[in-house]
Structures are given as structure tokens and as C-alpha cells.
């Protein structure tokens, strides 16, 4: 009796403790910040073609379910494919999930969860092709794949294959359909979502090799890794992983063997069917128009981002550029040398590297900029070098007599520069500045590598969903044009105003 009571009491205390722990974990639950490149396509993480504001994909579903297991709220961070791992190492987010293969090379820089998906490579060919059904048969042919993948390694090892490495799978498949390639070898899920629905293409041969996808975690976060592995294990055991994959038609006998889940339960492949329906080529112009109309909110938002980054960067470029030009023309020699060195270094190195350096490199020196500031700083400081050279030419074009007249009127050199030389130099540089601003608008696409969604990013996302490079390209091109036109008009106005007093 006494023992019974004691046990009952213990049970009550035990469940109270469990409840307490649950509350504590809920109260202290930080969001699970996860990153992926939603423009890299189905079926991983992408935007629902039928509703561009909805993030979907089997990995989106997986991470959402996993976060629930961890008692955390998932928060999605978009980043360009090339920036995903640097961003993880910078601590911008907790994990990356984007069909990243677990390889020894990746392990050197990253930790991985246990694999959540195991698959193979598949060869896709044109419908009329014969014989190209294995790696050996591909010798002497032009074959496309994605860079840094198992399939690229296998094709390289085989030798004798003309390899084309792509950044984007849709480009590879459309080049195959257009006969620029003889075959495309890619991970089976990609082949299923892009080659199988395309009536011009078919899969050839059998699955090749084995590869495992893992959730990438920054090294040294063992606690997080342990919790994620426990969550994945739970999802394997209770069939949740299987159900997600079945909805996406990605459940394979290999996965059944890998997870020891031979449950006969069948879940309808609703997400796969939704994809097929949403990406079916549009029949009439009404449908096409409706689809393009659906793009507009995303393009509008992206255009605002492009405009904001570019306008702020131009302000930085003009201010810093003017200082550099003045230092070069009027400064004492240490200033002159420093300004010249800055200009030559910045002009002589790629903008993309500068952006990555400022965003991912500076934090190791203790300087952390948020993506927008980093984008503005990188673009602004880069364009400052070009502006400086324009302004220097502008300053030189003002006749020396103007400076002399100002000095003779008892102005200091600085006053003469400010009130007499710079205003006249400005007139010479306005047309070039307009040019530079328009070019800056377009170069701003590079900030997509630091998680900013701007126009080019939107274009990639939309076009890879539909293979529709023409329509989407025209839409996004028009958006760039619309952004640039007001500045062209503004510049014309400025030119006219500044031309006052100068003979035509």
C-alpha cells in the first residue's frame, strides 16, 4: 500500500516534471533558422508555382516537421546557392537543407545530420535517343550535369565524356531538349521533377551510384546536431518521413530499406500531382496572362529591393568617389597614393568577390553587417572607384584658369574646388553617372548571394519553375527598364539645367 502510494506520487511528480520541462522548452524555444536556395528548384525547397508566396518542397515539409519535433518555430532564410555554406559558417542561420550531399570534402568544413534521403543518379536523354543507358555508353557524347555533384565526379572518372557543368538543372534539361546536349545525369529527384514530365525527354538505364543528403550544421554545434538526429530518428520511426516522401512521390524501395520502414500504408502523392498540374504548359493566352499576373507581386517586391540597394549604393558611390577624386587631384602624396591604390585594387578585382568578402569575410575581423548594409557597402564602395575616375576626368576638364581666377579672388584652394571647380566638373560627369547608375541597377543582382531577394533572383526562381525563360525574362527585363527610365529622365533634366551658360 505504502509502496503503491509512493509509486503513484512519483508518477504525479514525474509527469509534473515532464510538463515543466515542456513549458521550459516552449518558453525558451528559439526559432530554428534554416536556409535554402528556393530558386534552385523542385522538389527540394521552392515556391509553389501556383502561389508564389507559398514555400513548398519535400525538404520544406521535412524541416517543418522536424522543427515541430524540436519544439522550435522554423524560420526560412533565402540565400543564393553559392552563399548557403558561407552564411551557415557566419552564423546567419542554424542549418542548411538543400539536397546537400554528404561527402568527405563537405565534412571537412561542415557537420551533417544523419542522412534524411538516399538516392542515386539518373540519366535523361531525348525521347528518340537509343543506347545511352549507362556511363560507359556516354563516352564520346556531350553530357550535362550540375557542378560539384556525385554525377559530375562519376562522369569525370569515366573519361572521354564532354562534360558541361551547369548551375541550374532547368538549363541542363532545356539544353538537352534543344539538342545542345546528348544526355543529362542528375540526382533522381531532379530527374523525376524535370525530365519525367517533359514529353521530349525520357529516363534511360538504371539508377547509378548512391548518395545521401544531410542537413548541414555549423561545426561545433554538437547539441543541435544531437537534437536534430534524434528528431530525424523519431520521424523515421513514426512513419512521418515516409508519409512526406510519399506525398512527393519520392518514396523508393531503397528508402524503405534504408529506414527499415516497410509499412504498407499508402499516402497519395498529392504534392507530386499538384506540381504536374501547376507546371503543365499553359494552353491559352488567358492562362498565360493569369500566370504572369501571379508573378507581379514577387517581381514588384524584388524590384523595390533592387531599387533600394542600387539607390543607396549610388549615394555611397558618389560621395566616396568624389572624395577619392579630390584626394587624387588635390591631395598631398600619401593621400594621392592611397586613393590611387584603392581605385586600382577595387577596379581590378571582381565585384562578386568583394561582396562575399564584405559579407562573409569581415565578420572574422569582428565587423558584422546585415545583408542590406553589406550589399549597399559592397556595391557603393565598388562603384566609388569608377565614379572617382569619372570625377577626376571631370575635374581635369575644368580649365585651369577657373582655379586661378578663384584663387586671385582670395578664395582658398578648398573654397575654389567647392564653389568653382566641382560644380563645373559635375556637368561633364552627369551623362556618365547616369550610365553608371543603370549599370549599377543591373550589377545589384549580385547581392542575391547574400540572401537579398532582388529582381534577378526573382527571375531565376520564376523561370526555373516553368522553363519559361522568354516570358519571365521579358517581364523582369521590363522591370529593370522601368526602374532605370526615371533616372535617365532625371539625368536629362539635370544635364539641361547644368548646361545653362554653356554654349551648345
Amino acid at each position: 500500500m505504502g509502496v503503491q502510494r509512493a509509486t503513484a506520487l512519483w508518477r504525479v511528480q514525474g509527469s509534473a516534471l515532464a510538463l515543466l520541462l515542456l513549458f521550459m522548452s516552449m518558453a525558451s524555444a528559439e526559432p530554428l533558422r534554416w536556409a535554402s536556395d528556393a530558386s534552385s528548384g523542385a522538389p527540394y525547397v521552392f515556391h509553389d508555382p501556383a502561389d508564389q508566396s507559398r514555400l513548398t518542397g519535400y525538404e520544406t515539409d521535412l524541416i517543418t516537421a522536424l522543427a515541430a519535433h524540436l519544439g522550435q518555430t522554423p524560420v526560412f532564410v533565402q540565400n543564393d546557392w553559392d552563399g548557403l555554406i558561407p552564411g551557415l559558417q557566419r552564423g546567419l542561420y542554424d542549418v542548411v537543407i538543400d539536397g546537400i550531399e554528404i561527402t568527405p570534402e563537405h565534412r571537412a568544413a561542415l557537420d551533417f545530420s544523419t542522412p534524411y534521403y538516399r538516392t542515386a543518379e539518373r540519366i535523361a536523354v531525348r525521347r528518340d535517343a537509343v543506347g545511352l543507358d549507362g556511363i560507359a555508353a556516354l563516352r564520346g557524347h556531350v553530357v550535362g550535369t550540375l557542378k560539384d555533384t556525385l554525377s559530375q565526379r562519376l562522369l569525370e572518372q569515366a573519361g572521354g565524356i564532354a562534360l558541361r557543368s551547369y548551375d541550374d538543372e532547368t538549363n541542363a534539361y532545356s539544353d538537352l531538349a534543344d539538342s545542345r546536349l546528348d544526355a543529362v545525369m542528375l540526382d533522381a529527384p531532379i530527374a523525376q521533377y524535370y525530365a519525367v514530365p517533359d514529353p521530349r525527354l525520357k529516363l534511360a538505364g538504371v539508377p547509378i551510384g548512391v548518395l545521401s543528403y544531410g542537413i548541414a550544421i555549423r561545426q561545433g554545434r554538437e547539441a543541435l546536431q544531437t537534437r536534430i538526429d534524434a528528431g530525424l530518428e523519431a520521424m523515421r520511426r513514426d512513419g512521418e518521413l515516409r508519409r512526406i516522401l510519399q506525398r512527393w512521390a519520392l518514396w523508393t524501395p531503397e528508402m524503405a530499406a534504408f529506414t527499415n520502414d516497410a509499412s504498407p500504408e499508402r499516402v497519395a502523392p498529392v504534392d507530386w500531382r499538384h506540381w504536374l498540374k501547376a507546371t503543365r504548359p499553359t494552353a491559352g493566352w488567358r492562362q498565360a496572362l493569369a500566370r504572369y499576373a501571379g508573378f507581379l507581386p514577387l517581381i514588384g517586391q524584388a524590384a523595390l529591393m533592387t531599387l533600394a540597394v542600387s539607390a543607396c549604393a549610388m549615394v555611397v558611390a558618389v560621395a566616396v568617389g568624389l572624395l577619392l577624386a579630390l584626394a587624387r587631384r588635390y591631395g598631398r602624396w600619401p593621400l594621392r597614393v592611397a586613393a590611387t591604390a584603392y581605385i586600382e585594387i577595387v577596379r581590378g578585382t571582381p565585384l562578386l568577390i568583394q561582396i562575399l568578402l564584405i559579407f562573409y569575410g569581415l565578420p572574422s575581423l569582428g565587423i558584422r553587417l546585415d545583408p542590406f548594409l553589406a550589399g549597399v557597402a559592397a556595391l557603393g564602395l565598388n562603384y566609388a572607384a569608377y565614379e572617382a575616375e569619372n570625377y577626376r576626368a571631370g575635374l581635369q576638364s575644368v580649365p585651369h584658369g577657373q582655379m586661378e581666377a578663384a584663387l586671385a579672388l582670395n578664395m582658398t584652394r578648398a573654397q575654389a574646388v567647392r564653389h568653382v571647380v566641382v560644380p563645373q566638373a559635375f556637368r561633364f560627369v552627369v551623362p556618365v553617372m547616369t550610365n553608371d547608375f543603370i549599370s549599377l541597377l543591373k550589377d545589384s543582382s549580385l547581392v542575391s548571394v547574400i540572401t537579398l531577394t532582388e529582381l534577378t533572383q526573382a527571375y531565376e526562381r520564376l523561370s526555373t519553375t516553368y522553363y519559361d525563360y522568354l516570358g519571365t525574362g521579358l517581364l523582369v527585363g521590363a522591370a529593370y527598364l522601368l526602374l532605370g527610365l526615371p533616372f535617365v529622365r532625371l539625368a536629362r533634366l539635370a544635364e539641361r539645367r547644368l548646361a545653362v551658360g554653356h554654349p551648345k
Binding site: L409, N410, M411, L498, G501
Partner: protein, 250 residues
């Protein structure tokens, strides 16, 4: 040396690329005097004028102007020298052969800019008075390029006068003008002379130099060859080089 001199130059030397352009110039100018400097091209007369307000920096020698002194002895030009030159320029205005008006500003703004920037005074009324004085009151709102050469040069004189200089320097002020337009400018200079302005004029206008100058300096090869009253210099030059030069104008 007369203590009354407002401009005093002592043993001024200046070379360009090893070639001596001013070879020991000494000169004094009294308040209210109009001194013309004549001589063949390349004789150094423009360089001398530009040394007087330190637009050109002499290698050695001394320039004293209205109490400001800048001495040179071959040393590098330093910040303190620039400060001394700046102080000196407050007392002297300059008019250029090519006018050098500020093309991006109206005539009135050209006149008002330096007082506004340097002395922080608006001076619109004073500027209009000066434009009236040089006969340009009606063109105050125009841009320089829409003016004739003579009008531009008169605007340049008004612009220099706006800084209330005690000495005016003219570097071939009428060389770019046809005779009729030149006369407009020379008329203004005569008027200033009558008002007691000290003026130093580098010129090829022999008739003006003869008629309006108190003294004329003839320069050749970086030296003042002869300095004296116009009548003496024109009718009985003591140096054969002066005679030879003047003969080309007769």
C-alpha cells in the same frame, strides 16, 4: 626704397625647367600709380605679374604688397607660405586675358561669389553698383557666354573690385578683344585710375600705355631694361633694345 610704395618687389627670380624667366626684378609702385609693363613675348612680364599675387611662386626674392610680405629663398613652398600668400591676395585683384568668368553662374553671381564665400557677406547691392559702374547693370542676370568679350572683361573687373582690392593687376586685358571692345575696357581702367586705384597692366596697347600710364616698364629676357615716364620712354629711350622693340609698333 620709398616707404610710401604700395608694391615693392626685390630681386625676384623665377625659373621654369632650368630656364630663368625672371632674372632679378626689383620694382616699386606708388599708391594711385598706373604702371604699364611692356616687352616682347616671353620676356617674363606675365610671370612677373603673376608673381605679384603668388599665382606663380618665385624661387627667390621678396614681394611686399600693402603691408603683406612673402619672402622666398629657394625652400619648398609650405603651408605657412600659402597662408601668407592668401593674406596678400586679399589686397590685390586680377584680370586675365581670357576673362576666366565662372560660366556656371550669372554675371551678378560672378561678382557676388567671392565676397559670399570668403567674407560671408551677401553684397547684392554693392555688386549691382559695381556692375553699374562698368556699364553692365542691365546684364546682371545673363550668363557670361552670352556676353561680348568687352562685356565679359568689364564683368571680370567688377568681380575683382567686389573684393575691395588696393591694387589691380591686368594680364593683357584687351588682347582677346577687337579695338572697339578694347576701348570699353580701357575706359573702365582710366576711370579707376582717376579714382586713385593702383594698377599694374601688362599690355600690348602702346597707345593706351603711352596715354594713360604714369610710368612704363620695358622688359626683355627676364629683366626690366628701362623704366620711366611714357613720354621719355617713347620719344627718347635710353636703351637700344627698347628702341628696337618700340619701332615694331610704329
Amino acid at each position: 626704397m620709398s616707404p610710401a610704395a604700395i608694391v615693392r618687389v626685390r630681386d625676384l627670380r623665377k625659373g621654369f625647367d632650368g630656364q630663368l624667366v625672371l632674372d632679378g626684378i626689383s620694382l616699386e609702385v606708388s599708391p594711385g600709380e598706373l604702371l604699364s609693363v611692356i616687352g616682347p613675348s616671353g620676356c617674363g612680364k606675365s610671370t612677373l605679374l603673376r608673381c605679384l599675387n603668388l599665382l606663380e611662386i618665385p624661387d627667390s626674392g621678396e614681394v611686399a604688397l600693402a603691408g603683406h610680405v612673402v619672402s622666398r629663398s629657394g625652400k619648398p613652398w609650405r603651408r605657412s607660405d600659402e597662408a601668407a600668400a592668401h593674406a596678400l591676395r586679399a589686397a590685390v585683384g586680377m584680370v586675365f586675358q581670357g576673362f576666366n568668368l565662372f560660366p556656371h553662374r550669372t554675371v551678378l553671381d560672378n561678382v557676388m561669389l567671392a565676397p559670399r564665400v570668403v567674407k560671408r557677406v551677401a553684397g547684392a547691392r554693392e555688386a549691382m553698383e559695381l556692375l553699374d559702374k562698368v556699364g553692365l547693370a542691365g546684364l546682371a542676370g545673363r550668363y557670361p557666354t552670352t556676353l561680348s568679350g568687352g562685356q565679359q572683361q568689364r564683368a571680370a573687373i567688377a568681380r575683382a573690385l567686389a573684393m575691395a582690392p588696393r591694387v589691380m593687376l591686368y594680364d593683357e586685358p584687351t588682347s582677346a578683344l577687337d579695338p572697339e571692345r578694347a576701348e570699353e575696357v580701357l575706359g573702365v581702367m582710366r576711370q579707376l585710375d582717376a579714382e586713385g586705384m593702383t594698377q599694374i597692366v601688362v599690355t600690348h596697347e602702346m597707345r593706351f600705355a603711352h596715354a594713360a600710364s604714369d610710368r612704363i616698364a620695358f622688359m626683355e629676357a627676364g629683366r626690366i631694361v628701362e623704366l620711366g615716364h611714357p613720354d621719355v620712354l617713347f620719344s627718347a629711350p635710353s636703351d637700344p633694345r627698347t628702341r628696337r622693340f618700340l619701332r615694331t609698333f610704329l
